[in-house]
Symmetry: C2
Subunit: 201 residues, 2 copies
C-alpha cells in the first residue's frame, strides 16, 4: 500500500508569507490528495540566533518597504483578502501553542485559516486569549480546555523543542516545506514542493 | 505613437539569481517585444551599507546551504546549465564596468549571457581581464578598446553613481525589476513584472 504523500509545512502565525501558504492549503489538499504535517514554530528565536532583534522586514528598512508592496500583489494573485496589520510582527506565541495542540486534530486547517485571517485580514491581535477564545468558539470547540492545555508547561516546552528542531533542520525563514529531506523555502516554492510530492508518490 | 514597454533590469554579474533572469531575457524580448533597460550595478556596497561584510548567502550559513540546493532546481526548471562557482561571490567589478559600456549597445544581451555562463556554468573568473578579453573577442568586438573605456576613471565613477542610484531607489538585492516606479524583487517576480508591463502598454 502506498503511503499518502506528505507535505511538511513549517510556518509562523506572525509571518505574512506563511499566511499566503496557509490559505492555499485547503485547495492543495482537495486537489492533490496530500496530507499536511503541520509544523507551527516561532521565527523569533531563529532570527535572534542570526543576530537580529526583530524580523528582517523591520530591521532592513528597504526590504520591509518592498515587502508591504509585494504582499498586496501576492494576495491579489492568490485571491486572498489583505489588510496590513497595525502591529508587525504580531506576537504569535499563543497561536503557535494552540497550533501544537491542534496539529493532529481535524480542526487544524480551520484554526490556521482563521488565525491567519485574524492577523492579516481583520487586524486582530492573535496574542489575545479573548480573541483566540472567540475563534475556537466559532469552530464549536471547547476553547477553555484547549487554552488550558496550550499554556501548560508541557506544551510551552514542546514549542521550545519544536523551534529548536526547526533550527536543527536548517530552517531560516517561513514558510518552509519539506518533501522527505528536501527543503523548499518560501510561498514561492509551494508549487515546486507539491510537484516534487507528485513525483515522489 | 505608443512607447515601447520597457523593463528596467538591475542585476549583479556575481548574483546567481541574476544569472537566472539574464538567461530568460532573450525569450522575453522576442516573445513580448519589450525593451530592456539594462542596469548593471554592484551588490557589495549595498550589503556593506546594511552592515554585512559579504553576501547574505555567505554570512547566513543555513540560507546559503539552502540556496545551493535551490539554484540547482531553478536552473533545471528554466533549462539552464549550472555549475557551482568555485569562488562565490566572484568579484564582478570588471564585468559591471564592461556592462556600463555595453548597456546601450546591441551586444549587451550577448555579453551578459556569456559573462553569466562564464561564472555559473563554466566556473571562469569574470574578474580576469584575460577572460573578459576572450569573451569580447568571441563576440567580434574590439576588446582592447572596450576594456580601456571600462577601466577609465569616468566609467569607474559611473559605476559608483549607478550603485548609489540603486541604493536611492531602495534596491536591497538582485535581480530587481522596475516597471515605471513599481519594484519587483527577485527572479521569482520576473513573470509578474512582465505581466505588469503588458497591462501598462
Amino acid at each position: 500500500m502506498d503511503q499518502q504523500p506528505t507535505l511538511e509545512f513549517w510556518f509562523d502565525y506572525a509571518s505574512n508569507y506563511s499566511y499566503l501558504s496557509v490559505m492555499r492549503m485547503r485547495k492543495l489538499i482537495a486537489e492533490e490528495g496530500i496530507a499536511v504535517r503541520w509544523r507551527p514554530f516561532l521565527l523569533g528565536p531563529i532570527f535572534k540566533e542570526a543576530g537580529w532583534s526583530n524580523s528582517p522586514f523591520v530591521i532592513q528598512k528597504d526590504k520591509g518597504a518592498y515587502m508591504w508592496q509585494d504582499i498586496v500583489r501576492e494576495c491579489e494573485k492568490y485571491g486572498q483578502p489583505w489588510q496590513r496589520p497595525s502591529v508587525f510582527p504580531r506576537n504569535s506565541i499563543l497561536a503557535a501553542r494552540i497550533g501544537l495542540i491542534g496539529e493532529d486534530q481535524p480542526w487544524m486547517l480551520d484554526f490556521c485559516e482563521l488565525a491567519m485571517l485574524d492577523n492579516f485580514s481583520l487586524d486582530r491581535d492573535i496574542g489575545s486569549e479573548q480573541n483566540m477564545t472567540a475563534l475556537l468558539d466559532s469552530l464549536g470547540l471547547d476553547a477553555a480546555d484547549i487554552l488550558r492545555r496550550a499554556v501548560s508547561d508541557d506544551n510551552k516546552q514542546r514549542l521550545r523543542e519544536r523551534t529548536a528542531q526547526a533550527q536543527a533542520k536548517g530552517i531560516f525563514g517561513a514558510p518552509t516545506f519539506f518533501v522527505g529531506d528536501e527543503m523548499f523555502w518560501g510561498n514561492d516554492r509551494l508549487a515546486d514542493a507539491a510537484a516534487r510530492l507528485r513525483r515522489a508518490v
